[in-house]
Amino acid sequence: MSSDARPRGLRDHQLDDAAGAEALERTWRTPSGWRGFFTTVDHKIIGRRYIVTAFIFLALGGILGLVMRLQLAWPEARYLDPDLYNQIFTMHGSNMMFLFAVPVMEAMGVYLVPLMVGTRNIAFPRLNAFSYWIYLAGGLLLWISFALGMAPDVGWFAYVPLSGPQYGAGKRADIWAQMITFTELSALAVAVEIVVTVLKQRAPGMSLDRMPLFVWTMLVTAFVIILAMPAIMIASTSLILDRLVGTHFFNPAEGGDVLLWQHLFWFFGHPEVYIIFLPAVGMISTILATFSRRPVFGYEPMVLALVGTALLAFGLWVHHMFTTGLPRVAEGFFTASSMAIAVPSGLQIFCWIVTLWYGRPVYRTPLLYVLAFFFTFIIGGMTGVMVASVPLDTQLHDTYFVVAHFHYVLIGGAVFPLLGAVHYWFPKITGRMPSERLGRWSVALTFIGFNLTFFPMHLLGLQGMTRRIYTYQAEMGWGGLNLFVSLSALVLAAGFLVFFVNLGRAARHGEPAGDNPWGAPTLEWATASPPPPYNFAMIPVVRSAHPLWDDEEVLPVASGLRVDRRELLVTRVTDARPEARESSPRNSIWPFWSAVATTIMLISSIFTPWAVVWGAVPIAIALTFWFWPRGMPEEES
């Protein structure tokens, strides 16, 4: 080890700036080549990988959407047979929810949270590496099964009995259920990392009421993940057990219940919407503050609204089940709670409008995406209040009205802010500026294309067109609107294409960004773009909620951390007073091998229950190697 040649325990203030940076670089860097690729635990490299992978899944899912629009453009089209159509809409939904939306939001947190709280790596960085490989394996499982013509065909919520042993022949539903296990495992791992990073690794002085709103949203989201995802893991495991070893959880003939599936699925599935939406709230708040040149209006109400939304999110799930014949009291209660969640959401919207109103808005691409969000999300929110009413929901359930509603909420509410956020943080991640001209084109095309594609679906739903049908007769009279929707989808796709082209070009030829091109107030902009492997040469000290606006020239910092081992600062949960210097794990190949072992076990257990027994052995071995100490300086104390 080269570091052994130098004196042990060397501190940052004992070196000048250049020597300090060099020593930190040597300690924290990821080796180049394949070794670095498989062993890295740097949250920035893993976060970037997560984001890129999620966007590849977005593009693939988008292509499936276009294929469906081709099939539906004309009455009685014959491009896809019913079986392939079933696979494609299941793939589209499952892919977008489990492989794109949730992972991409967490990925933004993986990249940004450590930088925004002023620390050097995420908590449990090896778990972070493991979570990425598991996520990738889950994605490959789903897409390879699709390529082999054995993709799930039971819809993204896989209702029993359709997905049960009686009707779901073959391994299709098992592949869906096990893909859930993969993605939830990785999501839960990241949630734990984010909770601990936010609670224990904040820069000194960053008390809870000085935390950036994006960090708040990621913290709240992580807790929602922790409390919601066990429900779906239990659901998918019970489904696999029913299919593989003959349990009867969902079999009414033997005392099981099909509605149990719906309860378990939606107890997770509704919070899932907020797992996707809450990080977007943080992105919007961040972008609005920077481009309005003022802090977001009403910091405390915003945080309370976040927590309120998260709590209410667990009391809404039954509104997905209004047509299943539940007791009237339950319907009344869940209608009320579904409408109640509009209150914290409305509060946030008004705080944002006031921020813009009192600010000096600079209309750059990220802010334009936020404006696109306002318009679209408010429509989605209002149709949400509409379908919260039982009589109307009974009429519209399983029609294109619902398809329109949730695309307005998810694309308008989460994807537009996400695209804005990617534009906003792209200079930090790559060190280069995206083109403003292409950026404006992408906003215009996605915004117009989206509304032209999805607004008519409300009308189609009102006219009685049900979702998930692979074709329709000319006499239904839906042909004109469907053709219009399909053509508009091309505009939307063009918007995404411009977005990808813009970022692809900028990554190579964009103007150098500098540390803080937008004049933003949060800590990630206090370091270089892209940030060095150790994030900050010295840990920043925070005195307000917008540290870089306090003093644009000089950053107050803390000294005294070692540079010859990976060291970061642990602070108290509430007031972020320094508690300890803590080491952070080095690169390791074992998270990768642990993920490989877990993948072998999980996929084999689709075919034989004994895989759980023999598959546990390599996992235990890999985990032991992962945790076994090797006498590195990180273990000194």
Partner: protein
């Protein structure tokens, strides 16, 4: 940006213990995940029970014997568990080693009556929904005992190597003890559910 040093961390402890350590918080977070899992599974049990005309549908309630033995062993194990955690806090390597050997043995011994607990339910997993949920609840908890037992075995082996005498490892021992307390505590509502509800 230029930097100005305003805070000196030189004297700060280089190793966070107890609630200052990251792994302590990580363990809590995993306990919250798994605790939620247990709660959901118990909810499934109660949901299915609420639908059934009779519970258990067509078998006698489970025999209490093996379940009570498991409970007894788990409750007794809490004493050495707390002691080993305390010794780890003091950095007493010799006692920690003895404590971990005892904890390994107790974890393994708890599995013996657990083997007999499955047949004591008087129902197979594929007989009916009652059998399915009972076996899954027991299986879920058994997985937790097994996982923590594995963890204890590896930690025990580690403490007998030259890398054992390190505050970091003592911290690991404390976190492992914390997790075992959770495994014991989580068993009590499951016990009440599996043996109490069928006798209502």
């Amino acid at each position: 940006m230029k930097q100005r040093i305003v805070l000196d961390l030189t004297e700060l402890t280089p190793n966070a213990m107890g609630s200052a350590s990251l792994t302590w918080w990580g363990t809590l977070a995993f306990m919250l995940i798994e605790g939620t899992g247990f709660v959901m599974m118990i909810a499934v049990y109660l949901y299915l029970a609420s639908l059934a005309p009779a519970w258990p549908p067509d078998s006698p309630p489970p025999d209490l014997g093996p379940g009570l033995w498991v409970t007894l062993i788990l409750l007794v194990s809490v004493v050495p568990n707390i002691l080993v955690s305390r010794w780890a806090g003091r950095g007493d390597l010799r006692r920690v080693r003895i404590g971990l050997v005892i904890m390994t043995l107790l974890g393994a011994v708890a599995l013996v009556p657990r083997i007999y607990e499955f047949p004591a339910m008087h129902v197979m997993w594929d007989s009916n929904a009652y059998g399915s949920v009972v076996w899954t609840l027991l299986g879920l908890h058994t997985t937790h005992i097994l996982t923590d037992l594995m963890d204890t075995v590896v930690l025990c082996a580690l403490m007998f190597t030259r890398r054992g005498d390190n505050p970091r490892r003592f911290g690991d021992v404390q976190d492992n003890a914390l997790y075992w307390n959770f495994v014991v505590l989580a068993w009590l509502p499951i016990l009440a559910c599996l043996y109490g509800v069928p006798r209502q």
